[in-house]
C-alpha cells in the first residue's frame, strides 16, 4: 500500500511543499494543494469508509462537495473532533488527523459488514416494518441500531473556535467561479455594480481551469489558459470582492442568502489561534447570478459502489489538477462524450487505460477518434452488468445492450481493472435555484431538469442552466448577462470557440442485467444504501408520490442529499410507473447545500451571549448578599439567600417565617410597568380589565385581571391612578412585553378613537416591596413626613413621597397577605433606597427574600400566579375569582367568551386547594390528580400547580386544578406517584388569614 501514484505535477500541487498527515492512525504524505482525498489516492488508498446500512466497503467517488462515500471524522481531540466531513473538500495541512466512520473495529475489518450478507433481510422500509412490534422490544432494538448505526462521533467538549456572522449587501452576487461565474463577475463589476463572487473551492476557475485540451479552445487558446487570464483580470477589478472557500448554503426569498466562509480549516491547528474559523455571511443581493455548474451522473448497475469506482470527471480532475493516477488499470464506462475527455487527459499523462465501455452503438466525434488512435479498445453498445473485488474493484463483466436498451444480449466478457470511471452525463446543479422557489422544467432531449421560472431577480447561467458544453456556455452566457444586468456590451461578444464534444447521450436510468433485479445491488443512493430494487419495492408496495418513495427508501436523505443519485431514482420511478419525468416533479432540495457546523449557525451567540440577560438595579446587592438566582424570561431574579450551610428549603422556610413574623424585603423591579395617559385612560382600562375602573379615585390602587378574547386569563397586576388621566399599570414579569403589544394592538386597530398613550417604563424604576407586621414602622423611619395611619394611607392606596431628596411612589399593596409597602424609585436610586430600608429594618430583623419565598407566601394566601396556576385554558370563573368579573360592564376583552357553551361547563378544571392527609408530605408540582384508583382506566381529574411546605401553617399546602373541583370541597382524591399513592383532601385555596386581618395589622 505504499505505491506512489503521483504521475506528473498537477496544476494545484506544490511539490516543493510536503505535508504529513494521519489517516486511521498511519502517517502518509501529500503536497500543498492536495485534498485529503487526492492525498489518499496518491497513496493508493481507495477504501475510506463503510456504507450506512450494509457496511459495504466504500471509496472516494468524486472530487467535490457532492461526495457521498468518503466522509471522515476529523481530529482526535474531544473538543475539535468533527464528523461527516467530505474527504474531497478537506485541504490537507501538517498534522491533519482523519479516520473512517461507521465501522467497528476498523475499516478493513468491520463487524457490521455482516449486514451485506444479510441484505436480503434488509429491504426498503425494513426498520419501519420490523422494529415496530412488539412495542416492548423497542428498547432492545434501539440498543443495537444505535450501536451499529451512526455517522461519526460528536465532540464532547466545548468548541474552542471562534465563529461569527456578517451581513453583506451587494448589487450582484455571483455564486460559483467557474467560467460562467467569472464572466458574470467581470461584466457586473466593470459596469459599476458592487459585485461579490463566491466559490466553495480554494481556487477560482471551476473545472475549466485545468483544461488544456486542443479540442476546447477560446480565441485560439486552450480553455484553461483563457480562464486563467480572465481570473488575473478580474482580481484587479475595483467593484469586485472575491471570496473563496465560501459555500452558499441557503437561498431564501427576496434574494437573501446564507454562505459559510471557511477561514482556517486549511491551516495547521497551531496557526488557527485567535482567528475566526467560519463566518456565516448573511447576504442580501439586489441581483443574484447562479453559476453553480453541474454534477456528473453515475450509472446504475449491479455492484456499482466498490472502492475504485469513481466518476469519470473525478478521475480527470485527480489527473489534471492533482497529478494523480487513480489506478494503474483504468476502465471508463460512459453513455456520452465526456469520458473521452478523461481518456485524453490520462493518455497525455501516460496513465494506462484498459478499455472504454460505451452504451452508445454509433458514435463519432473528434474526441473518440483521438482515443481510438491510441489503440484503446472501445466496447460500443455495451454495458457493465457486474463488478467484483470486495475492498477494491478488480474486475468488471460486460454484455452487449439490446437495440432498445432494455436487455443485455450475447455473451459475458470479463475485464480486469483496479479503477473504473463512470459517466452518465451531467445534471445541472439547480439546488440553490430550487431553494429560492424557482420552478424547473424537464428537457426531454437529454433528460435534465433546468431552471424555468425565477421567483426573484436572479439568473442561472452556464451548466446549472443546462448549457452543458463549452460552446453553448460561451454562445449564450454573455448575451443573457447583458440583458439581465441591463448593460450595453461585454468583453465576450465576439469569442471564437472550438468545442469538439458530441452532445449525444444514451440515457438509461437503470441499466439492464443478466440477473433478475432481486439478485442485484445497484446503488442509487450510495450514502444511504438505497438500491434500485428498494425503489421498485416501494412502488410495488403502493408508494406513488416521489416524496413518499424518498422517505420510505431513504433515497436522497443522507448528508449529501442524494446529489448523485436523485435523478436516477426519479428516472426509475418514472419508467416503472409510466409517468413522464416532467410530471413526476422532483423532491425538494433544502438548505443547507452542504452541512454547517453548529458553531457557524450560532456565531458569537454562545455562553453568556446566548441570550440577553436583564439585571435589576439591585442585582449587585443580591450578589454581595449571597443570593442564588433564578431565570425568569431574560431576567435574573434573586431566588433565595442561603445563609451558612442552608439549602434552598431551609433558606425559604427561614425567609417565609421572618416575612410574616416581622419584616421581609423583596426586589420586585422585574414586574412590568406601563405608563398610561390620555383623556380616555379610564375607559381603556374598563375595556381591557374584567372589573370596573371608572370609579377608582385618584391615589387608589386596584387589582385587575386581563383576559384574552377567548375568555382565558392572560395577565394580572395592580394598576394605580396617579392622576385624572394618568395610570401606572403593573404586569407579571414574564407577560410585560406581550401585554404591552396586546394593548397597543387594541388601541391601534380596534379603538383608534381612544385618546390613550402607552409607555413601557419597566426598566425606569426599581421596585422594593417591604412586608410584614413591622413594615409600617420601618417605612415610617425613612419617610418621616407622611401619615401612615390606616385612615390617611389605607390598603390599596398610593402617595408621592420623598426619601431624603429622592422622589418615590409608594403603594400600600400586598402580594403576601401581610401589611406591605411597595416603593417605586427611579432605577439609579434603587440600591440606595434598598439599603436605607435594610438599615431601618435592622432592629426588626428585616429579611431579604427571593422569588421562591414570594411564591410560598402568596400560595398560603391562595393568590394565583398567572402562568403557574393558570395555563391558557383557565377563565376567572375556573379560578374561583367570579368577584373580579363585572356583571355591569357592557363589554371588556373576553367577556362574551365567559358564557360560551364550553366555558360554562360545570366540569371544567377549577382551581382548588389541596391538603395532604400527611401534613409533612409535599406534593410534586405537575403531579396528576385522580379519583377512584380502582377504576380502570383511571380518570385523570387534574394536576397540582403549586406546592410548598408552609412554615407559617406548619403543614404542606398545594394548589391544583381539578375537574368540577369547585363542588368537591372536603372530598378525598388521590395523587398516584411512582412509589406510592398520596391521599389529599380538596380545600379552599386560601389557607391563611381568610379574613385578611393581617393586611391591617
Amino acid at each position: 500500500m505504499t505505491k506512489n501514484l503521483r504521475v506528473k505535477t498537477g496544476k494545484a500541487i506544490d511539490e516543493t511543499y510536503r505535508i504529513s498527515f494521519k489517516f486511521n492512525g498511519s502517517t502518509y504524505y501529500g503536497f500543498k494543494g492536495d485534498t485529503l482525498a487526492s492525498a489518499l489516492l496518491a497513496n493508493d488508498i481507495h477504501l475510506v469508509g463503510r456504507s450506512f446500512k450494509y457496511h459495504r466497503p466504500r471509496g472516494i467517488m468524486t472530487a467535490g462537495s457532492e461526495e457521498p462515500n468518503a466522509i471522515v471524522q476529523l481530529h482526535d481531540n474531544s473538543s475539535r473532533t468533527e464528523p461527516n466531513v467530505r474527504a474531497t473538500e478537506v485541504e490537507i495541512y501538517e498534522g491533519l488527523e482523519a479516520s473512517s466512520q461507521n465501522c467497528w473495529p476498523s475499516v478493513n475489518f468491520d463487524v457490521g459488514g455482516i449486514n451485506n450478507f444479510l441484505s436480503p433481510l434488509l429491504p426498503a422500509g425494513f426498520y419501519y416494518k420490523t422494529f415496530m412490534w412488539p412495542a416492548s422490544f423497542w428498547e432492545k432494538y434501539e440498543y443495537f441500531i444505535r450501536k451499529s448505526a451512526g455517522l461519526g462521533k460528536s465532540p464532547t467538549k466545548p468548541d474552542p473556535d471562534i465563529y461569527e456572522h456578517k451581513y453583506i449587501h451587494c448589487d450582484v452576487l455571483v455564486i460559483g467561479a467557474g467560467i460562467s461565474g467569472i464572466m458574470a463577475a467581470k461584466i457586473a463589476a466593470k459596469n459599476n455594480l458592487k459585485t461579490l463572487l463566491v466559490d466553495e473551492k480554494p481556487n477560482l476557475g471551476g473545472s475549466t481551469i485545468y483544461q488544456n485540451s486542443d479540442h476546447f479552445k477560446i480565441n485560439n487558446q486552450n480553455s484553461g489558459s483563457w480562464v486563467e487570464k480572465e481570473i488575473n483580470e478580474i482580481k484587479k477589478l475595483e467593484n469586485l470582492e472575491i471570496k473563496t472557500r465560501t459555500t452558499v448554503v441557503a437561498y431564501h426569498g427576496y434574494n437573501f442568502l446564507l454562505a459559510r466562509q471557511n477561514l482556517t480549516d486549511h491551516l495547521p491547528i497551531e496557526q488557527r489561534k485567535n482567528k475566526t474559523r467560519h463566518r456565516l455571511l448573511k447576504i442580501r443581493a439586489k441581483k443574484v447570478i447562479t453559476a453553480t455548474g453541474s454534477i456528473e451522473r453515475p450509472m446504475i448497475f449491479d455492484n456499482n459502489d466498490r472502492p475504485g469506482i469513481l466518476l469519470s470527471s473525478a478521475i480527470k480532475k485527480y489527473a489534471d489538477y492533482f497529478g494523480i493516477a487513480c489506478g494503474e488499470k483504468n476502465i471508463l464506462f460512459t453513455n456520452n462524450d465526456s469520458a473521452y475527455e478523461t481518456a485524453i487527459s490520462l493518455i497525455e499523462k501516460g496513465i494506462n487505460i484498459e478499455a472504454i465501455i460505451d452504451n452508445r452503438e454509433e458514435i463519432n466525434s473528434k474526441l473518440i477518434y483521438e482515443v481510438e488512435k491510441n489503440n484503446i479498445k472501445i466496447f460500443k453498445g455495451y454495458t457493465i452488468i457486474d463488478t467484483s473485488g470486495y475492498k477494491r474493484i478488480n474486475k468488471i463483466s460486460i454484455m452487449q445492450l439490446s437495440k432498445d436498451g432494455q436487455k443485455v444480449v450475447g455473451s459475458k466478457i470479463n475485464l480486469s481493472c483496479d479503477c473504473l470511471g463512470i459517466s452518465g452525463g451531467w445534471t445541472p446543479a439547480v439546488h440553490l435555484f430550487t431553494q429560492s422557489g424557482g420552478k424547473l422544467r424537464f428537457r426531454e432531449e437529454d433528460q435534465v431538469f433546468i431552471p424555468n421560472t425565477y421567483p426573484s431577480d436572479q439568473l442561472s447561467i452556464g451548466a446549472c442552466n443546462g448549457n452543458l458544453t463549452l460552446d453553448e456556455i460561451l454562445r449564450t452566457t454573455p448575451e443573457s448577462l447583458i440583458k439581465f444586468l441591463n448593460v450595453k456590451s461585454s468583453d465576450y461578444d465576439n469569442l471564437e470557440v472550438l468545442s469538439e464534444a458530441n452532445k449525444f447521450k444514451r440515457n438509461i436510468w437503470l441499466l439492464p442485467s443478466n440477473k433478475v433485479l432481486g439478485k442485484t445491488k445497484s446503488f442509487v443512493d450510495y450514502q444511504n444504501d438505497a438500491t434500485s430494487k428498494d425503489i421498485k419495492l416501494a412502488l410495488r408496495e403502493g408508494f406513488r408520490s416521489i416524496e413518499h418513495v424518498k422517505r420510505y427508501t431513504t433515497t436522497g436523505m443522507g448528508t449529501d442529499q442524494g446529489k448523485l443519485g436523485n435523478m436516477h431514482a426519479l428516472g426509475i420511478i418514472s419508467e416503472t410507473t409510466g409517468t413522464k419525468m416532467g410530471e413526476l416533479g422532483t423532491t425538494t432540495f433544502r438548505p443547507p447545500y452542504t452541512p454547517l457546523t453548529f458553531g457557524t449557525i450560532v456565531g458569537r451567540n454562545v455562553g453568556e451571549y446566548f441570550d440577553v440577560i436583564r439585571k435589576t438595579p439591585l442585582h449587585d446587592w443580591h450578589i454581595d448578599n449571597n443570593a442564588e438566582f433564578e431565570n425568569v424570561g431574560q431576567w435574573k431574579r434573586a431566588w433565595y439567600y442561603p445563609r451558612n450551610t442552608e439549602d434552598m428549603h431551609q433558606a425559604v422556610q427561614r425567609e417565609s417565617k421572618a416575612a410574616r413574623a416581622s419584616a421581609g424585603i423583596l426586589d420586585a423591579s422585574t414586574l412590568g410597568k406601563i405608563d398610561i395617559q390620555g383623556t380616555d385612560a379610564s375607559e381603556f382600562l374598563n375595556r381591557v380589565y374584567t372589573n370596573a375602573w371608572s370609579k377608582l379615585a385618584i391615589g387608589k390602587c386596584k387589582y385587575g385581571l386581563m383576559l384574552n378574547e377567548d375568555g382565558m386569563v392572560y395577565d394580572d397586576g395592580v394598576t394605580t391612578r396617579l392622576g385624572e388621566n394618568h395610570y401606572i399599570m403593573t404586569t407579571t414579569t414574564g407577560g410585560a412585553a406581550n401585554v404591552m403589544s396586546k394593548l397597543e394592538d387594541y388601541l391601534q386597530t380596534e379603538w383608534p378613537e381612544l385618546d390613550v398613550y402607552l409607555t413601557s417604563v419597566t426598566d425606569h424604576y426599581a421596585t422594593i416591596s417591604v412586608c410584614g407586621s413591622n413594615s409600617k414602622k420601618i417605612i415610617s423611619k425613612i419617610i418621616t413626613d407622611v401619615d401612615f395611619s390606616d385612615e390617611s394611607f389605607p390598603h390599596m392606596s398610593f402617595k408621592n413621597v420623598k426619601i431624603g431628596k429622592i422622589s418615590c411612589r409608594i403603594m400600600r399593596i400586598s402580594f403576601t397577605g401581610e401589611l406591605s409597602y411597595e416603593i417605586n424609585v427611579q432605577a439609579n436610586y434603587g440600591k440606595s433606597v434598598w439599603e436605607k430600608c435594610m438599615e431601618a429594618g435592622k432592629e426588626f430583623n428585616i429579611t431579604p427574600y427571593g422569588t421562591e419565598t414570594m411564591h410560598l407566601l402568596r400560595a398560603e394566601k391562595g393568590f394565583i400566579i398567572v402562568g403557574q396556576d393558570t395555563d391558557a385554558t383557565m377563565t376567572p370563573i375556573d379560578l374561583q375569582m367570579d368577584w373580579i368579573v363585572s356583571k355591569k360592564k357592557y363589554d371588556f376583552i373576553g367577556k362574551r367568551s365567559l358564557y360560551r357553551s364550553d366555558t360554562i361547563r360545570e366540569d371544567r378544571k377549577q382551581l382548588v386547594g389541596l391538603l395532604t392527609d400527611n401534613p409533612d408530605e409535599v406534593l410534586e408540582e405537575g403531579a396528576q390528580i385522580v379519583g377512584d384508583i380502582k377504576k380502570s382506566p383511571i380518570e385523570m381529574l387534574g394536576h397540582v400547580t403549586s406546592s410548598y411546605f408552609s412554615p407559617n401553617l406548619r403543614k404542606s399546602i398545594a394548589l391544583g386544578v381539578v375537574k368540577g373541583g369547585k363542588n368537591m370541597m372536603g372530598q378525598k382524591l388521590t395523587i398516584p406517584m411512582e412509589k406510592k399513592n398520596i391521599n389529599v383532601t380538596v380545600s379552599d385555596p386560601v389557607f391563611l388569614d381568610k379574613e385578611n386581618k393581617k393586611l391591617n395589622a
Partner: protein, 91 residues
C-alpha cells in the same frame, strides 16, 4: 426573509416585524348580541389561503405600528402595504 415596506418607516428586514394573522377581522361592536356560533366565527375562524392573503403585521422592533399587507403565500411576494383603517389597494 422578506423585505417589508413599513408604511411609516420604509423598507426593513422581516426580522424587525411580527406577523399578526389575518387582516380585516373586525371585533364585533356588540359581542353580547351574538350567538355562540357568531362569536366563534369571529374568535376562531381564520383563512389559510394558498395565494393572495391579507395580513396584519406589526413593526415590533421599529415604530411599533400595526399595518396591513397583501401577500401571495405561494411565493411570498408582497403585493401591497397599507395603513390600518385604509382600504386594501387591491382586491
Amino acid at each position: 426573509m422578506f423585505i417589508i415596506n413599513c408604511p411609516f418607516c420604509g423598507e426593513r428586514e422581516q426580522s424587525e416585524f411580527k406577523a399578526g394573522g389575518e387582516a380585516h377581522i373586525i371585533r364585533p361592536k356588540q359581542p353580547t348580541e351574538l350567538s355562540d356560533d357568531q362569536w366563534a366565527e369571529y374568535l376562531f375562524m381564520r383563512k389559510n389561503i394558498k395565494g393572495i392573503q391579507f395580513e396584519r403585521w406589526n413593526h415590533a422592533h421599529g415604530c411599533r405600528k400595526w399595518f396591513n399587507l397583501v401577500r401571495d403565500t405561494s411565493n411570498d411576494e408582497i403585493k401591497a402595504v397599507y395603513k390600518m383603517g385604509e382600504k386594501p389597494p387591491i382586491k
